[in-house]
């Protein structure tokens, strides 16, 4: 499926998805409550067939926290980028997609570990790289660690 038809198809499923100009990927900003349904449809429907979540990233944009999903269909050879934003830094939560793509389970744990983005209905949401009991989320822009960090 080419990007123009794919764009129409996505906007058909989620009408309030916001299209974002991007050179490499077809990019949409999806409202947080629509993300899980969209993910399920993207994977299930035969003409979309996004069977591969090749990256899930957390980003701290200061005004809001963002989760970026990079998707690919290995059979139909098309790609898609989705973003979900949550302005609440303390309790901001996004629905998990680990029931749709199993690989998201570890990716979401990483985003939780380093940026403190919480995922609803995640089967095992705990730190993955850092020790249990680590205070704070080190990849956040406002993270302060006076012991370890040497400021340049």
């Amino acid at each position: 499926m080419d990007n123009a038809t794919l764009k129409e198809r996505i906007l058909g499923i989620v009408p309030d998805a916001k299209f974002q100009e991007n050179k490499q990927f077809l990019t949409f900003i999806i409202p947080p409550d629509k993300m899980h349904d969209l993910a399920f449809k993207l994977q299930q429907e035969a003409d979309l067939a996004f069977d591969f979540l090749f990256c899930l990233t957390g980003v701290d944009r200061i005004e809001f926290l963002e989760v970026v999903y990079h998707l690919e269909s290995t059979t139909l050879k098309h790609q898609l980028e989705l973003k979900v934003q949550t302005p609440d830094r303390e309790n901001g939560a996004v629905d998990t997609v680990s029931d749709v793509w199993k690989t998201a389970e570890f990716h979401e744990r990483e985003a939780y570990d380093l940026l403190g983005i919480k995922f609803n209905n995640h089967p095992d949401l705990r730190r993955i790289f850092l020790e249990e009991g680590w205070k704070g989320y080190p990849l956040r822009k406002d993270y302060v660690d006076e012991v370890n960090i040497v400021e340049l």
Partner: protein, 178 residues
């Protein structure tokens, strides 16, 4: 001899202690010769320096020419550990444990900027050990990011020179190095 005396690569041998019994010094020479020409490194690499270390072991550079022959997967069989790569705080106790499990005499080469000082992760990083000498005593430092295989070869040869200075009356004791 003191660790702090190793300043000048060119005059390393001049620091060798004079005097001593002919029998003992000859015995020491034989031991040092066999020890320095059969250094068994531990298979240990934490990042990109490890790739250079593998390249140094591969046929093109081939450090088995200098006696750094077989990589051992168990610290109990290794003489030497090349710390090739970044050591993060979570890895530090593991490295210390590996070092403690090696049998004496044991040697450490800090390969690359990360192992020497923390390197590119010195500033604005929350998780990197700034130099592996915070954890274990280091014999030879090899700068570079990552160092070329030739640099590693040179570092190994410096370590061999250092080993050749040991005597039976002044053996290297790692317990004394704090």
């Amino acid at each position: 001899m003191k660790e702090s005396d190793f300043r000048d690569n060119e005059t390393l041998e001049l620091l060798k202690q004079s005097g001593g019994n002919i029998l003992l010094t000859t015995l020491a020479d034989i031991m040092n010769w066999s020890r320095s020409n059969s250094l068994w490194p531990l298979t240990f690499a934490t990042s990109c320096c490890g790739i250079e270390m593998m390249a140094a072991a591969a046929p093109r550079h081939d450090f088995s020419r200098f006696g750094m022959e077989v990589y051992r997967a168990s610290p109990r069989q290794a003489d030497m550990i090349v710390v090739a790569g970044t050591i993060v705080n979570k890895m530090a106790p593991v490295l210390k444990r590996l070092y403690d499990q090696m049998s004496d005499p044991k040697y450490v080469i800090a390969m690359g900027a990360c192992a020497v000082s923390g390197g590119p992760f010195f500033y604005n990083s929350y998780h990197v050990v700034r130099g592996v000498d915070h954890i274990i005593p280091v014999d030879v430092y090899i700068p570079g990011c990552p160092p070329r295989p030739e640099a590693l070869l040179y570092g190994v040869m410096q370590l061999q020179r250092k080993i050749k200075l040991e005597t039976l009356t002044h053996p290297r004791k790692t317990e004394n190095l704090k």
